[in-house]
Symmetry: D2
């Protein structure tokens, strides 16, 4: 069996944080990059070690371990969380298995990082949050992977809002637009089945923008009025089965059981108004997570398709010279930039996972609650539930449960 | 009394279309520019003549007549519509007087152009539409001034959608963002009083985007789920009275009786989903009427702050070379461009009024129903009413009356 | 004969400024719009009156007079400048006739506005400037039509530079990119013949950017190093002759005798460096006059294809929140905006001619030297000559004659 | 001594490519990231192993080895190239040492990757190129690190140009704009001393844009007309000496001996014209490497500050729907994207080094000449020399030596 990739020289200096990861598809690759790189770029209190990766297909998980640099491979997540050389379990599976793995990993004394959405239901999320609270009392941490908080531009936006640069918030408009389902021939992957994914665009994209909007606003949503839609009701079955990685059709069709798009208006606790849209049918938009916040002192805008930029309007300036400015978020004093390149040398998508790893390692080393916690993930779940309830009830305004 | 500005040379060639305008503030200035310029740029079947302008203040209306080039001035709109030298009455007053003037003008045998929103209530709009239908049978035309249909970029968008370039429509997202009310010291002008304006951002901005969205989509909204808000409830009284032109405070405050912002989600008849937002509190956004339409063949996007551009994604192209392209809508074969400048020499806001005048003159000369008609204005009024009803009923989905 | 379009009412209030225009093609239409509109939008000390227009083809000039609203038509420019009802002669012809008309008009006691470039040679420009100086002593004004100084965004840029917001200038990069000659089948219009146009892209586009760069910088060029090129050496003859308006080929070809593109680097008097490019072969660029100025305190950038915007970087701000901001140059305190629309309601290309008319009317009324004067036009001519000289001498650095 | 970071599991499958790197500052960190990541993202024929890193300061190089994951540290580059566990020497030092190290490494039988510019003089570059040619005959490869060829968007641009989408080239305009020297208090680092850096903005930034312009154009420059300038002639000495990493002033000043900015016009072999600008004084521009190419069939534009985007105008389309489109270069069939994320999930600056490593590993495994070769680096050096010669000779047009 292969050895972990960390060099002995470094091991001598700082204690390792040994990671075991469940899942090795898209999120698995991104998280691997995060764990592998964080200690090479940032000065961390503990050095991440890629101990073991887990997946059901023995050959595929072994290949993934080799490719991504994990020392060992497991085919049963229960075996993974039982390993002595794993301090932290990183859950990168579809939502239907989050609760079981997370609760068991916490019970086994591990720290946990869980991909978003935290769960497929409020009930699961509540169970996970209770387990996280009990584990925190024992010194274990549990974090949910809303990685878009850790793009330097969004982190800067949060800082600027906390400094009062937006002032009293009036409007938030946020959308997460993709277009990979426009083709009705795109096959029915697990993301289109309720039993695996919980919901569609809502849980996948909507969860991100609900978290990001609340995080940036510094306050929570009070209620929503929603509509959801499934535009294409039947899709070809993929080769390799619904749960497989394939996006190639295999013949036969089956029903799409999740939403294709979710739209809602909302009120924040402060009275600010918001519009949300999550869709996989926005032809031409590939990964357009866009958020704009307008307050009585200023405004901020961000688009994930141009993730190194933050747009800022200082409403306190004389109108003669005022305007939205494009801050290139690559300066040495911008969040996370201390470890990277000179001004103007931008970062990419996966850097958010490097930053997530960095922050979680610090939280573990310092024993403080990570941000966002499972409780934050649960609250997002409650918003998702209110969206679904409102959509079922003719869009009636539905308060978020507290 | 002054003579109209048209030269005799031209009068010899083509019959005049003699205009009488009621109102001389912002819209009055814009419409004057439209009537004065249309025949100088386009080859029209009838030459617009600026016969008479009407306002209540004798000195102010006389000054406006001189400034904008109207031959005569009147202080009573009844006198204006009684004039023999007026063929068409152009109504540029606040919404509370639209119905009376329009119905009387039609009864007096005049053509009518009426600023949007058509009226302050569905009832008024219905009355106006009935009057328009009856007048049309007598050869008179009645048009409502949704001028944003006549920006070359939106007209091109309509053509492209009609050609099938967007395909089956899935999503429309549209917002009209301004920020002139962010300052709570901005005074209480007539636009903030229900008795004059009917509603706030909803009727002023929302009416524009409802019309434009339906016009571009080529279909009507089926229902809405809405929320509205008034952020600042009391404002200083303006010098010169609420109905005056002043935006300077005069001491004392009074309640704001209209909405500051209106947000709604909607379904189109075809099942496409839409989000709408109209607000005067979007700090940093001055006149950001933005619309994007995504269909299964392509997408279009427009922003009034860059009105010479149309953004187009051709979804039928190979992804390798596809992307939103910025069409500079200044080519000779673009709508309305035959009369203007070489490619790349852009137009401005007021050109939409020149184009409106051009199209209305053609419609009058040809005796065909203008587009948008009073019936179109009535339908927008019904959407506005549904928005208000939904907002009052806890955002419940509210079908549009047909 | 037709009467001028001005109403009697206004004539009573303010003295007229009676204009006679030579030429009625593209520039003639733009200038007509300027004269017709300036007094309707701005409060002018004298009211422009469109007295007479002149062109060689009697039918065409009569049609142009009717279309653009000129009271009379002439076919000989000598007759035009002899008219008693003409106070100001506006020269919109190709460059080969500028000197004769301007000198004669000044001799006849008229004010003069002359399109750019001022002349086809330094010698002509010198003669014109001498005539202008002598006429100024008699109270007559002579202005050259560098209208791009009068786009609100460039005027704002000039103000900001004068206020010191750019600081010590280091770099200017400026280009004027069009693409109408990419097609080798585009016919040989007068603009492609040295005997009429003097030069090609250099005199047409280069003159604009030389003037604008010096105007914004607030200083003059010291020397240039240049290369010019003619990519397509032979083009089809247009129907109607080289001097006509047609852009339709008529059979047969003839040599292109002007440059297609001109590139040069330059030094300003202060030591700042500059790059210039003027071309009609920049495929995809329609009217992209772009200028950026970088100084030790800040930077400004402008693109004529988005003429309502000015991009500004305040270099004195902390880097954390700094970035190029997009000033929407539509605020009431922006240059020329007092007469126009509310914030965010943009202007177009032809408004620069309205502003040019406004400023010239004020200068005439106040008896002050207009800006830019014929002397400014002469200086630009000297830069053009230095560019041509450098290009002929293997790009060697060539000082500008003073 | 630490072990290399590669896992044994992978070593079993594919032969290693053992790298020794000289230098550990900015470029050292970027190259480390490239070597560490390439095999985790791409399926490579040989697995890069980070064997040893070299620098003169023993503590600093040891810390760099630990941080970046290099197994061993050396303080003498001669010792590094003598190591048995090094197959390839990666030279990340200032230009004054490139020739010595590269020639010695090739003589020692190693493959070489050398940062740009290849050398500080044409003579050195010729010597290196001769050594590379001889070594290639022995099966060794030598590559120069023009990493901007390996941004997906520039690689896509090259492909599109090779496919004929730009057609006959007319214009290239290219600039590399930074602003880190605007502050005259910025200290005199090695990049500002001729003895270390060879030249200033010219060699640092100019070398990149010369290579990129020629690479994209698919042809070479024929001659240049140049001007260079040093705006600030004296700067504070940095703490730690000129050669150190510090950018903190230590008291005292010394002369800047390189150019601050270099501007030149150029002709390509085909007759296309180009403008080039390289500067560190473009206030507000952080890393704005911008290139636009216009041909008779289309145009392409790129800005390194938005490196995931390529702007493309298809000149063969009807003008009605044509415009520059923004290709988000994140599609699976875009260059280098097979290893990365789904559409719209962008890459960053350092990915170009991952791609450089990928391509060099493939070249080594296949024994084919890498692209760009030392000969390509030599040719760029000749352009740099011609620029300096022209600048010294009053900007006279200076052919590039062949």
């Amino acid at each position: 069996m292969a050895q972990p990739q960390q060099s002995e020289g470094e091991g001598a200096d700082k204690p390792p944080l040994r990671v075991g990861m469940v899942g090795y598809a898209f999120m698995g690759a991104a998280h691997s990059q995060g764990w592998r790189t964080a200690g090479r770029v940032f000065d961390l209190p503990r050095q991440p070690v890629l101990s073991a990766i887990c997946g059901r297909d023995p050959d595929a998980v072994r290949a993934a371990a080799d490719k991504h640099g994990w020392a060992a491979a497991e085919t049963d997540w229960r075996a993974l969380i039982a390993r002595d050389d794993v301090d932290l379990v990183d859950i990168c599976t579809p939502g239907d298995s989050h609760a079981d793995i997370a609760v068991a990993a916490l019970a086994a004394g591990k720290h946990v990082l869980c991909e978003k959405p935290l769960a497929n239901s409020v009930e699961e999320a509540e169970k996970m949050t209770r387990a996280a609270e009990e584990a925190f009392a024992r010194g274990q941490l549990a974090m949910v992977g809303f990685n878009y908080r850790r793009v330097p531009a969004t982190a800067l936006a949060r800082n600027m809002i906390a400094e009062g640069r937006v002032g009293k918030l009036r409007h938030v408009r946020v959308a997460y637009l993709q277009d990979w389902l426009v083709d009705p021939g795109f096959p029915l992957t697990w993301r289109l089945r309720k039993e695996y994914a919980g919901s569609g665009a809502l849980g996948d994209l909507g969860a991100h923008i609900i978290d990001l909007a609340q995080y940036l606003a510094g306050e929570r949503l009070a209620g929503v009025s929603a509509m959801t839609e499934t535009f294409v009701h039947e899709r070809p079955l993929p080769a390799g089965g619904v749960k497989g990685l394939s996006a190639v059709s295999a013949g036969g069709t089956a029903p799409v059981t999740v939403d294709d798009a979710a739209l809602f208006t909302a009120r924040f606790a402060s009275g600010a108004l918001a519009t949300f849209e999550a869709t996989r049918y926005a032809t031409g938009r590939k990964n357009a997570l866009r958020i704009e916040l307008n307050g009585d002192k200023g405004a901020l805008a961000f688009d994930l398709e141009r993730l190194n930029e933050l747009s800022y309007h200082d409403g306190t300036e004389p109108g003669t010279h005022a305007g939205f400015r494009r801050i290139l978020v690559t300066e040495p004093d911008h969040p996370y930039l201390e470890g990277w390149w000179p001004p103007g040398h931008g970062l990419g998508y996966e850097h958010s996972f490097v930053h997530q790893a960095r922050d979680l390692v610090h939280a573990v080393a310092e024993g403080r609650r990570p941000d966002p916690s499972f409780a934050d993930g649960l609250q997002v779940q409650r918003v998702l539930a209110a969206v679904e309830e409102s959509a079922q009830k003719n869009s009636v305004y539905t308060p978020i449960a507290v």
